[in-house]
Symmetry: C2
Subunit: 413 residues, 2 copies
């Protein structure tokens, strides 16, 4: 350890190196077919409408779009968000909406607000790896919630709450990342009830809710949140463009006021310009037409990937059938080495994320997460072909090695 | 304490409520003449050039400007920054430049990287209040560095370093906020040498360096940083527009790589769009012409405020004569109540920041910070007139009350 690194804080020693950061760098090379990132299809970005919105903002709103702004966010955008979530069953005033630099920043603020070193967070297992990273920064420990094909099992919670005294529960109820499972309505209501009884804060992360292309919408957990325990978190990254870095949370004033102090200390406020551009885009265009186009494209890309996997993958592999979102979750045979597969895949110019990184307690090396939103049908077919060919190699399976996670998620073909 | 707030982390109990947040809300009303915020003059925002830049970015770079990007930042912008700091005497590769959501975010990341609860930060006293807030989030303690009219006194450092074992030293060497003092060149070289000897990390915060309208530029502390102890932090908030939220740091790879991990966990990356707009603005326009216009305006606004203060303030008040930047620092008589003056001033539709908030160890109630960049000459004269009238009231001075700070900064008329 050098003299400089001797100055690093305790929390830096908790952070495990992220393999995905390196994967994404490799995957960004254009000759690689990448199923790795959670990137939207760039050809669907409403680029002309964003250009019109940005011209409108600079020529009409003018200088306020370039000046410092309120830490809470741009009020007309907060009003739009409050009206939008009302349509999904969340009662919220514009004053309850806090705008952040992507929803990732909200996870950071929530960690800052709630976590002391060693505090427990209840999560699905596996869960979103950048949430793991955000909470690890505050030296969190993770306790998995038992799940099945309908999502987390609320009946299991009271025992976990009493035993582990978690600071909060983190869940992605729609098309979960990475498993693509959706939490059913009855369990959402149950979860809200249990949270209220135990005063457990629930962080409901919903980046994909608008990307449903099959089945009926389910109200968010926040809809049943009579005790104001739920922090509802969402983003424009999947519905407008991630490059604008616009996320938000809905929280009761007691929590909102503290998140606001932390937002201000973290970076004063989110881009005045980007907030106004998004607001002008949302109010000058029929957003639903745009969303329908995204849903249609992702649905057909899922079908292409699903068909290619069915045609080419060897026996012993199964994968999820999401009703929306951007990801397929592939389960390989016990002892399958997803990390080794990735090494070989990159040599064949195709990338994905091995499942291991999504398990905060380790294990999970027999899973793969495949993104289908960011590749054309041709590249999906070619990429699956290359991966499937590699999967036929039996040296990727070590029978002696127990690759099964402690709590295996339910996966359906 | 409610059940919800019982879940809040230890760090939330350290945060003292910020009076400035409430002041700035009041001061934002158009009928108030505000010397409170550190806002640039909006009439100088290069709005047409930003519009041209944003049109260029969306029509030429296109979809990458709306997609997820690298946590490090947009490479052409990092290249521009590396070339720019080279002209100021800092040797840095583009790979050493980390782009953040304003320089405030860099203070947050530095706190995350270095601070365990109770760790000591050496600072000028008074210092930038949002830096105090950022470091308090990580439960820092503050130890003041003795200063005089030439800035912090390097000879005082070894004793402080040995006694307090600080994690880092935070300094604003150019037109310090709030005192407007500039650290002289010899002391910068000495500071770098002492930091190297003791392996002390120095956070050099330089938001105002380009706003010098008098005297000669002084190389940054980082210029003398042979031991790679200095993290140099700056921003486009004062030179292009704060609403774009673009800041950056230059740090040695050992520190850079850790800040990068924290940046990714905090919010993935800074707006792809805003980074490209700033880059297009910087490369398509003569930036120096724009800077010269800002300097000229701020210089003449300082002159107006200085003349108004000379004409109207009662005996017993003195104030600084900055060579650049945006602030005047006013010293009132011992026992003067700056917070009470603010209450009365707001009733007379004029606002400023009382000095107290800039002293991490308390005291400092006889100081006022006045911003002159954000008001027209007419409003500066009228605002000073109102404040000066109130200052004639002797009930604002309590002779029995010792309002003097423990370590009073040097101020010159």
């Amino acid at each position: 350890m050098s003299e400089i690194s001797a100055s690093f804080s305790q929390r830096m020693r908790q952070l495990r190196p992220s393999t995905i950061r390196e994967i994404l760098k490799v995957a960004a090379q254009p000759e690689i077919i990448s199923f790795a990132g959670g990137l939207p299809a760039p050809e669907l970005f409403p680029i002309e409408a964003v250009q019109a919105a940005s011209d409108y903002v600079l020529s009409t709103i003018g200088r306020a779009a370039l000046q410092y702004g309120a830490s809470e966010g741009f009020m007309p955008l907060r009003e739009w968000i409050a009206a939008e979530v009302a349509r999904c069953g969340i009662e919220a005033a514009p004053a309850d909406v806090l705008v952040t630099n992507g929803s990732q920043q909200m996870l950071d603020l929530v960690g800052k607000l709630l976590l002391n070193p060693g505090d427990v967070v209840l999560t699905e297992n596996p869960t979103y790896l950048a949430a793991i990273q955000a909470f690890q920064t505050f030296e969190a420990k993770f306790t998995p919630i038992p799940t099945d094909k309908h999502g987390l099992i609320p009946e299991a919670l009271p025992k976990l709450i009493i035993k582990h005294r978690p600071k909060f529960l983190y869940t992605i109820p729609n098309f979960q990342n990475p498993t693509s499972i959706t939490l059913v309505a009855e369990r959402r209501a149950q979860l809200a009830k249990i949270a209220a009884k135990h005063y457990l804060i629930v962080v409901e992360d919903d980046p994909y809710g608008k990307l449903r292309y099959q089945g009926a919408d389910v109200p968010p957990v926040k809809h049943w949140d009579e005790a104001n325990c739920v922090i509802y978190v969402s983003t424009f990254s999947k519905t407008i463009a991630p490059g604008l870095r616009l996320g938000w949370a809905i929280a009761t004033q007691e929590i909102f006021s503290q998140l606001l102090i932390l937002k201000q200390a973290s970076d004063l406020h989110t881009s005045s310009f980007d907030q106004r551009v998004a607001w002008a885009f949302l109010t000058h265009n029929n957003h639903n037409v745009h969303l329908e186009r995204i849903r249609h494209t992702y649905s057909s890309r899922f079908d292409v990937m699903d068909a290619a996997l069915k045609a080419e993958m060897p026996a012993g592999f199964s994968w999820s059938r999401p009703e929306g979102g951007m990801f397929l979750w592939v389960t390989g045979p016990t002892g399958f080495d997803g990390v080794e597969l990735l090494q070989r895949a990159i040599a064949h110019k195709v990338a994905f994320v091995p499942g291991r990184d999504f398990f905060p307690m380790g294990a999970g090396n027999n899973f793969l997460r495949l993104n289908y939103s960011n590749s054309t049908p041709e590249r999906i077919r070619e990429g699956v072909h290359r991966i499937a060919e590699l999967c036929h190699d039996e040296t990727l399976v070590t029978p002696a090695h127990s690759g099964a996670p402690e709590a295996a998620p339910f996966v359906q073909r």
